[in-house]
């Protein structure tokens, strides 16, 4: 996990330097704030990965001499077919249409969104289809 951490930390450092130069030189706040936020986006996950990479056990994908047996077993949870992404998507669609065509679109929109959140979470807890 070290390479991943270094990529994010490296980007964060570069953005931080760029922010320092830019903000002090231009005194322009919008760009300064946005670059500062970019720096945080590099440092936050990057430092987590760095901290975690020193504590985790070696993963087969980080081991240049790994064999396939090394990762036999469960790789992850991959919910198969699910109606909830479509439901949530349609809900979001109606919510956005409410921005344009009137607040009453929020009724079907939020209903679908809430239904999908509940259904999707329950499906996730159950393990879903595979």
């Amino acid at each position: 996990m070290k390479v991943e951490a270094k990529i994010l930390l490296g980007l964060g450092l570069f953005f931080g330097l760029m922010c320092a130069v830019y903000w002090n030189w231009s005194l322009e706040n919008a760009g300064g704030v946005m670059m500062f936020a970019a720096m945080l986006l590099g440092f936050l996950p990057g430092s987590y990965y760095y901290w975690w990479s020193r504590r985790m056990k070696a993963r087969p994908e980080d081991d240049p001499n790994a064999t396939q047996e090394g990762s036999a077993g469960v790789v992850g949870a991959f919910p198969g077919t699910s109606i909830w992404p479509f439901t949530l998507g349609m809900g979001a669609f109606f919510v956005v249409l409410a921005l344009v065509f009137g607040i009453w679109f929020l009724v079907p929109g939020l209903a679908l969104v809430v239904w999908a959140m509940i259904g999707g979470t329950a499906e996730g807890r159950r393990g879903g289809h595979v």
Binding site: S26, A30, G31, Y49, E61, G80, T81
Partner: protein
Amino acid sequence: MTDVLHPPLDLAGEDHGHDEHHGPTGILKWLTTTDHKIIGLSYTVTAVVMLVIGGLFAEIIRGQLASPNGSLVSLAQYNELFTMHGSVMIYLFAGPFAFGALANIIVPIQIGAPDMAYPRLNALSYWLYLTGSITMLLGFFTAGGAANFGWVAYAPLSNSINTPGAGADLWIGGLLLTGFSAIFTGVNLTATIFYLRAPGMTMFRMPIFTWNMLVTAILILLAFPVLTAGLIMLYADRHFGTHIYSVAGGGVPVLWQHIFWFWGHPEVYILALPFFGMVTEIIPVFSRKPVFGYKGMVFATLSIAALSLGVWAHHMFTTGVVLLPFFSIMSLLIAVPTGIKIFNWIGTMWRGQIWFSTAMLMAIGFVVTFLIGGLTGIYLASPPLDFFTHDTYFVVAHFHSVVMALVLGGMAGLYYWGPKITGYLLNETIGKIQFWFLFIGTQVFTIPLYILGLQGMPRRMAVYPHDPQWQTLNDWSSFGAVLIGLSTLLFVVNIAVSWKKHPAGDNPWDAHTLEWFTTSPPPHHNFYRLPQIRSERPTWDYNHPEHRALAHGKHTEEDKGHS
């Protein structure tokens, strides 16, 4: 190296002995799928439909510009046309095709993963993309027409006084949906690449396409939330009485440009990096050599991403309110990593055994066209030169060179990976004819536009009554656009003619990377078995163990301690 048959990966207890999958069929299967291959295919089809829609708008624009006082469309309709042409092409075709279509299908199989890390989120991304596209296009059916303020929607033109009407709000709403679609894809790609690589596939053994998609995903996470925030503020100004972008309320119109372009410049690299990655897969395969300068490519990609966050105001040089030298030097510098990539592509071909499949022709066409577009971009990085080319056809020509290069790269990707995804080869003869129409059409389309820009023709002009002498070059450019349209038609013909004709087999191109080890199309959860991974070319190593990559300088075939 010994034989590499291994027991299959065990995924959540599923038995791979039989691949029957009892699940929904037909339209319900499509609505409920979470399989990255089907989602990616949906993205591809939708994106190509958007390409055709955007292309139709382009042909109407060219028709209007065929004479100095064209009356094919009204002034108002023309403003809608170029706004929606740009919007559809950038937001609804190029972006989703770049990171939602081929990346969705290919990245998991390039790294040996059974699917993306969050399959349901992946499906949600597609539905948000589809509904977002519909939302934006719904503008055409409203009384005031579709959005008409340019694909960049500058304030104050985009406020509710200057652009009342639902078309603008539908444009904003559509982008909110597609923006979240992109952000979720960014999350998914990053998590997949960080967590689901096969054993032995260290970061520096990933294919360059996967590297590019990782960096693209990080750029998406950096940039898209900024656009989303800016859009919400625009909507608030339009409907909630805020004055963020209007002078009257103490706001600053130029703030919109800072926010928009802080997203907008990384966006063009979000569009470009996936195609760079595709071409970096194709050129080595059809030169029968590994990619030249793998680590240099990774470094160049990371540099492009880093620098791209610091150049946004080169789109704002003529505002008079930005720090010119900072953005100038950063924009000039970003040419350097792009140059490194071009030299590495040439180095890959150098002393190779090049064969000119359609995919390879398209890839080489991409390199040449991107070179032209990239060189003209360097002029634009110099503020004094930008002052008089900004908002003229010179800029239009520059970015059309670059995006047509991306189209060539996308076609390369489709011809290369199409057989892997569908299981069938496309017709190479038709493909090569398509290539020549596309490549020549691109140059015939763009070169007159460069000249027109330097002759003073501004962009977003429906008519040019003061300068009838511009008609000749406009007509040449339109002829190029017709050639491009014909090439798209040839592509559709090729798909029809090749439908289920020639089975591709696992590896028709003798290609190098992991996806070519599995069947075409790949089975459910992608792999029955995986080879041992000891380099960035696991399939090549398996098929040609005596020709594994050499360190520089050595011309023997002996493998000296290469791990």
